[in-house]
């Protein structure tokens, strides 16, 4: 079992797996990879179980040393990675010999790049998951983003591990989208038709202060329905809430579990991974689909994954 030495952590790098569902009654949200599709694909490339823990890098990658060597794959956005100065490709497993340094830079495409290593990152699980929950300082590596000098353990590779590749078709189909498909939110009918039309016809810009808790949007102000405050209720991943002021917020992986703002729409599950690739200042818009379509798109995504 080897280790990863963090020579440079990058802007914001955390240990993530597919999160911890099931602790909503304690106020604990699932957390997990912001782009779960990329993490799952990266794990497949190195022969891990899809849910093994990897490193999630944000906008600017780090520099990592592998003193005992490792089998690595990078998935998600292109952070211009080099291994001892030689460019390495995304979506392909490669070997780092003992002592080689993997260096990543600023993103050339979306917000997040995943570093998966055969055997996965071994951290103490919190409520069954390796995911870091930044706000509460729980899970992952000491409940925080990586720092220079951190040393992470690599887990034992499973005996049956088998590297799998990704087809060009799957990569194309699973590309992050800028037109996000949504279903109605629980309070959609609180918003007058004119407000809804505005919401669907407008382009929104991702605000700088977006993070894993929520993606804040700038653009057309959605008139907030009058008629009193609503009672706080459980909120779904991808819910688009409209607080006072009318600037929509998409609740993301480290979401609050309950909230008291009306929700105009909800991003469909098949587009969650696209949310994880949104960068500040990216422009997006929303497209309404019906429940049947949302279900079919999720099923197609999983079938594409399974068949590849």
């Amino acid at each position: 079992m080897g280790v990863i030495q963090v020579q440079e952590p990058g802007l914001f790098t955390t240990v993530q797996d597919l999160g911890r569902e099931g602790f909503g009654p304690l106020g604990v949200s699932a957390s997990g990879a912001a782009d779960a599709i990329s993490l799952r694909m990266g794990n497949r490339l190195v022969g891990n179980a899809e849910g093994a823990a990897g490193l999630e890098m944000t906008l600017l990658g780090g520099t990592f040393l592998f003193p005992e060597g490792a089998v690595i794959a990078l998935a998600g956005s292109d952070f211009g990675a080099t291994l001892d100065g030689k460019p390495v490709e995304l979506w392909t497993a490669f070997e780092s010999r003992p002592g080689q340094a993997l260096r990543l830079g600023p993103t050339c495409s979306g917000a997040r790049c995943y570093l998966c290593v055969r055997g996965g990152i071994a951290v103490k699980l919190f409520l069954g998951s390796a995911s870091t929950h930044i706000l509460s300082g729980l899970g992952g590596h000491d409940g925080r983003a990586l720092r220079k000098g951190d040393v992470l353990n690599i887990g034992a590779a499973s005996v049956s591990s088998r590297e799998r590749s990704m087809s060009a078709r799957a990569l194309k189909e699973l590309q992050a989208r800028k037109v996000l498909r949504v279903t109605p939110g629980p309070q959609s009918d609180w918003f007058p038709e004119s407000a809804q039309r505005l919401f669907y016809e407008s382009r929104y810009r991702v605000a700088e202060e977006s993070n894993r808790m929520g993606i804040r949007l700038e653009g057309a102000i959605v008139p907030v329905p009058s008629g009193g405050e609503m009672i706080s209720e459980g909120v779904s991943l991808g819910a688009i809430q409209v607080p006072e002021g009318g600037k929509p917020i998409i609740l993301f992986v480290e979401q609050q579990t309950t909230g008291g703002y009306p929700k105009i729409a909800n991003v469909i599950s098949a587009d969650f991974h696209s949310l994880g690739q949104l960068r500040p200042r990216d422009e997006i818009r929303f497209e309404r689909v019906d429940w049947e379509t949302a279900r079919a798109l999720l099923r197609e995504q999983e079938e594409l994954f399974a068949s590849d």
Binding site: G24, G27, G137, E233, G234, I268
Partner: protein
């Protein structure tokens, strides 16, 4: 997709993988008990494909695996559970006492709240500390308990501009609710004081100090006592 039936529950598709079950649009003890009973029943007899439950004042958000279940199927299952709520015996509520040092740097909004209601700090503290509160649910962040009802004389709107960082242990009020921030988070509740007690910790079996259905009282303590307890419990 909105339907209402059995036990006065209303079902609403919240996302492609979640269903919201509501018991009316008012915060009542009866609605709260229905939420807790449904939650406990689903916890003791879990349904394959239901992944998570988010209780709130008068609703329960049920998250499910959209590859295996459809909204209609989840609704049908939940209706069967709702038909059995009377079987669920809720335990005697636990009584929990939380020491609070009011005012000063720990309660930066106490003075403004007093001004708004035309009362002295001592009166406000007395009102806040003399009531027994019900834990309606835990939500927002890990271990944050929504407590009610606040004395009517203390009902205060939340801050127009939320603070970027509220220190852990801060005791706040908003509307007719009160609560304790378990972690340093952004927050818009008006802060009356702070407790040295941990609301969430991983070194004990029960991660959260409070559970849904508990009864809570706040006890005023001095700054000296706060410092001593903080040291003792560190």
């Amino acid at each position: 997709m909105v339907t209402s039936a059995g036990e006065g529950a209303r079902f609403q598709s919240a996302s492609d993988q979640s269903l919201l079950v509501s018991f009316g649009q008012e915060i009542t003890l009866q609605a709260h008990q229905q939420v807790v009973k449904l939650l406990r029943l689903l916890e003791s007899e879990p349904v394959a494909g239901i992944r998570n439950l988010h209780p709130a004042y008068c609703s329960l958000l049920v998250k499910f695996d959209g590859l295996g279940l459809r909204h209609e199927e989840v609704e049908a299952i939940l209706r069967r559970y709702l038909g059995r709520l009377e079987e669920v015996d809720l335990p005697e509520p636990r009584q929990v006492e939380i020491p609070v040092c009011y005012g000063g740097e720990f309660g930066p909004d106490l003075a403004a709240v007093c001004t708004m209601h035309g009362m002295t700090p001592a009166q406000a503290i007395e009102l806040h500390a003399s009531a027994e509160y019900l834990v309606y649910f835990l939500g927002f962040v890990p271990g944050f308990a929504y407590l009610g009802e606040l004395s009517e004389a203390l009902v205060t709107p939340r801050l127009a501009v939320p603070r970027r960082r509220v220190p852990a242990g801060s005791v706040g009020i908003a509307g007719n609710q009160t609560g304790v921030y378990p972690f340093a988070t952004p927050g818009g509740w008006r802060l009356l004081g702070r407790t040295p007690m941990a609301m969430f910790r991983t070194d004990r079996d029960e991660l959260t100090l409070l559970s849904i259905g508990d009864r809570v009282r706040f006890t005023p303590i001095s700054a000296e006592r706060f410092a001593a307890l903080e040291k003792e419990w560190a």
